[in-house]
C-alpha cells in the first residue's frame, strides 16, 4: 500500500506528534549573555562540554528540536578539543547539528568525521560587488531576474553549460580556481579573494569515485536546489564605515550573493566515505551515539582518504561558484550593455561553510594543528591572520551571512574573540526555524512569489513549486538576531546589512 504524493497534510497525526516530541529538555546553563553550556556530565561518554552561542530570544527555538542533543553527541568524538560548539543559527541536522563546530587533535588520535562536514562539501557563499545603484537596477529588475533564471542553470536535474571530461575534472579538483583562470574563466583578483585562494592543498582526485565524477561531470556551474540561490541585493545600511570602505561597500550599492556547493560530486564523496567508514568505529574501538557520526583518526588510512577526497570536492565547489559568478557577470553585461569589468563586478570574498581543515590554534597553553570541522559555520579570522587575503589582512576576513529571501543578509568581519572562543568561526546564515513540511503547510493557499513582491519588493523566480514554499522567509530565524549574537560574542562584527531585490532558486 502506498500513500499519495508528499505533502504535509497527507502526513499522519502520528508523524506530527512525533515531530513535536523532538524537543530538547536537557541542561542549558548560562555562561554569559550569549553562551550556554551543556555540561559534559549530561551524558556518559561526553569528553568535553557543549557550548552554544545564543541569547534569550533564541532559547525557545533552540529547545524546539534535537540540535542541542547533537551538540552533546559530537562531544563523544575522540580527540575533541575544548568544547563541542554551535553557532546561533543552530538547527537539527544529521549526526552533527547545522551550525556545529568541532576541533580534534590529530596528534592525540583525533578523528575526522564526514558528518562534521556534511554532504555538501564546501557549500559556501560569495559576494560580488558592482558599481550599480538601486536607481540603476530598479527599472530593469524583473528583466534582470528573468534573464538570470534563463541563462543560469538552476534547479533539480539541470545540467550546466560547462561539461568536463573525467581528466579535466581531476585537474580542476587538484588545482581549483587557478585551473579555471587558465581557461580564461577566472581573474587573478577572483583567486585572491577566494578562501584558500580557491585551492585547498592536499586534494586527491584519485580518491574520488567514478560515480562521483559522473554526478559532477555537468554540474560545475549550476546552482542546484534546496536552500541554494543567487540573489541581487542592495546595501541597505552600513554599520562600520572603515571596514565597509576596505571591502568596497557603500549604502545603496548593488551586490550579488551566490550560494551553492560541490553539487552531486561532493554529495557522492561524502556518501562514499560514510560507506567506506561503516566498520571504522568497531575497528578503532569508538562508541558513538549516532551512526552518522562515523569517523576515523585523521592520521589513519581511512582519515587521509576521506580528507584527500573532501579537499578535491571542496576545490570543485570553489570552481562551481566561480562559474556561477561568470554566468552572473555575463547576464549583467547583457542587461546593462557594459562589460563586467566596466560594471566593476569584483568578487568581494568567497567563503566556505561546510569544511574540515587543518589549522593551527591555541589550545590551552599550547599551539596545535587541529582538524576544525565547520558544518554550517563560517571561518571568521580576525585582522592580522596570515590566511586572510593581503588586501584585507589589516582589517579582518570578510564573512558573508545569507539570511532569507525576504528580509536581509549581512557582511561581517572576523572578530577579535573568534580565535579564542570558536576556533576562528562564526555563524553561516539565519538557520531554519520551520521544517520543510511545516513551511509547505504554512504556504498552502498562498502565493509566496506574489507576497514577496508585494511585501518586500522582491522579484523571485523558482524552478519548482516546492522551492519558494519551503524556503519562504518565515521558514528562517531572523538573521538580524543571529548576527547580533555573534557580534556581541565578538566572533564576527557587523559591517553592512544587505536587502534582497531579486532571487533565483531551484
Amino acid at each position: 500500500m502506498t500513500k499519495p504524493p508528499v505533502t504535509t497534510d497527507q502526513s499522519s497525526d502520528r508523524a506530527s506528534s512525533r515531530a513535536t516530541d523532538r524537543s530538547f529538555t536537557g541542561p542549558l546553563e548560562p555562561v554569559d549573555d550569549c553562551t550556554w553550556r551543556i555540561p559534559k556530565s549530561y551524558k556518559p561518554g561526553m569528553l568535553v562540554d557543549g557550548l552554544i552561542f545564543a541569547d534569550e530570544r533564541l532559547i525557545p527555538l533552540l529547545r524546539s528540536d534535537r540540535a542541542p542533543e547533537q551538540v552533546a553527541n559530537v562531544a563523544f568524538l575522540p580527540g575533541i578539543q575544548q568544547a563541542s560548539l554551535a553557532m546561533p543559527d543552530i538547527h537539527w541536522g544529521y549526526g552533527f547539528c547545522i551550525g556545529g563546530v568541532c576541533a580534534t587533535d590529530p596528534a592525540s588520535g583525533g578523528v575526522v568525521s564526514p558528518g562534521g562536514v556534511g554532504y555538501d562539501i564546501n557549500c559556501g557563499v560569495r559576494l560580488v560587488r558592482t558599481n550599480l545603484t538601486l536607481a540603476d537596477v530598479k527599472p530593469v529588475l524583473t528583466q534582470l531576474v528573468n534573464q538570470m533564471i534563463r541563462d543560469i542553470p538552476v534547479g533539480v536535474g539541470q545540467g550546466g553549460n560547462f561539461v568536463f571530461s573525467p581528466d579535466e575534472l581531476r585537474t580542476l579538483m587538484r588545482e581549483g580556481v587557478p585551473f579555471l583562470a587558465r581557461q580564461g574563466l577566472a581573474s587573478a583578483d577572483d583567486i585572491a579573494c577566494t578562501e584558500a585562494e580557491g585551492c585547498i592543498p592536499g586534494a586527491c582526485p584519485e580518491y574520488v569515485s567514478d560515480r562521483a565524477l559522473a554526478r559532477g561531470a555537468d554540474q560545475c556551474g549550476t546552482v542546484g536546489a534546496g536552500n541554494h540561490f543567487i540573489e541581487v541585493q542592495v546595501v541597505d545600511r552600513v554599520e562600520n564605515d572603515t571596514v565597509a570602505a576596505a571591502f568596497g561597500l557603500h549604502a545603496g550599492q548593488i551586490c550579488v550573493l551566490i550560494h551553492s556547493g560541490s553539487r552531486g560530486l561532493g554529495y557522492q564523496v561524502c556518501d562514499d566515505a560514510l560507506r567506506a567508514l561503516r566498520d571504522a568505529p568497531a575497528k578503532y574501538g569508538f562508541d558513538l551515539p549516532d551512526r552518522q557520526l562515523v569517523c576515523a583518526p585523521v592520521e589513519s588510512p581511512e582519515g587521509k582518504h576521506y580528507l584527500g577526497g573532501m579537499r578535491a570536492a571542496a576545490n570543485y565547489a570553489f570552481c562551481n561558484r566561480q562559474l556561477l559568478m561568470w554566468h552572473v557577470r555575463q547576464v549583467f553585461a547583457r542587461i546593462f550593455g557594459r562589460s563586467w569589468e566596466a560594471l566593476d563586478m569584483q568578487l568581494l570574498y568567497d567563503v566556505a561553510h561546510n569544511m574540515a581543515k587543518i589549522e593551527e590554534h591555541a589550545v590551552g597553553e599550547a599551539r596545535k594543528d587541529v582538524c576544525v570541522h565547520r558544518k554550517g559555520a563560517t571561518r571568521a579570522f580576525p585582522a592580522g591572520h596570515h590566511d586572510i587575503p593581503e588586501r584585507y589582512r589589516h582589517i579582518g576576513q570578510p564573512v558573508i551571512i545569507p539570511g532569507d529571501m525576504g528580509r536581509a543578509s549581512w557582511v561581517l568581519v572576523g572578530g577579535p574573540r573568534s580565535l579564542g572562543r570558536s576556533f576562528g568561526t562564526t555563524c553561516h546564515g539565519a538557520g531554519r526555524c520551520l521544517s520543510r513540511t511545516a513551511a509547505t503547510k504554512a504556504a498552502k493557499g498562498r502565493n509566496i512569489r506574489d507576497e514577496l513582491l508585494k511585501e518586500s519588493g522582491v522579484v523571485a523566480r523558482c524552478r519548482s513549486r516546492e522551492g519558494l514554499a519551503e524556503e519562504q522567509p518565515a521558514a528562517y530565524k531572523d538573521v538580524d538576531v543571529v548576527v547580533d549574537v555573534v557580534h556581541r560574542a565578538g566572533l564576527s562584527l557587523k559591517v553592512a546589512r544587505l536587502r534582497p531585490l531579486g532571487v533565483i532558486k531551484g
Binding site: T2, K3, Q10, G157, A225, R436
Partner: protein
C-alpha cells in the same frame, strides 16, 4: 505504506509494512515520491534489476534506497514500482519506471543523499517499520 515526517532542514520517510520485502519496496517508492512529488506521473514502461548484497536489514534498506537515488542522479531514471525478493545473499529487485522527461515529469526536491542519521529497521507486533532521513 510510507509517510513523510518533519525534519528541520531535510525530510524523513517512515515506512510500515507486513513483510521486509514490502518495507523495502515502499521505502524505494517513498524516495521516488520525495524526488518527484507525485509517483502517479511515472509510467512503468521500462525495467531495471538491482542486486543488493548483505543480510543486515538496516544496510539492505540503506543500499537499496541509495541505488534508486543513484539511478536518478546518474541515469535520470525514475521508478514507481518495485518487486523485491530476498534470500540469504541479499535482495533481488525489479524496478519499473521511465527516464525523466522534463516535458512529462515535474521534480519536487533535489535529494543530495540518503543519510545514516536515525536510520532504522525494527519489527513489532504490528509488523515492520523503518526510518530513513534524506538530505535535501
Amino acid at each position: 505504506m510510507y509517510e513523510v515526517f518533519e525534519h528541520t532542514a531535510d525530510l524523513g520517510l517512515r515506512i510500515r509494512a507486513a513483510t521486509l520485502e514490502a518495507l523495502f519496496a515502499d521505502a524505494a517508492r517513498g524516495l521516488g515520491a520525495v524526488i518527484t512529488g507525485d509517483l502517479a506521473q511515472i509510467r512503468p514502461t521500462s525495467e531495471e534489476r538491482f542486486v543488493i548484497a548483505g543480510t543486515d536489514p538496516v544496510w539492505l534498506l540503506y543500499d537499496l534506497v541509495g541505488e534508486v537515488h543513484a539511478a536518478f542522479e546518474l541515469r535520470r531514471m525514475l521508478f514507481c514500482d518495485f518487486q523485491v525478493s530476498r534470500d540469504a545473499t541479499g535482495l533481488q529487485v525489479v524496478a519499473r519506471g521511465e527516464p525523466y522527461d522534463p516535458a512529462v515529469h515535474t521534480l519536487a526536491h533535489e535529494v543530495k543523499a540518503i543519510t545514516q542519521h536515525e536510520l532504522d529497521v525494527r519489527h513489532d507486533a504490528a509488523g515492520w517499520e523503518a526510518t530513513v532521513i534524506v538530505d535535501i
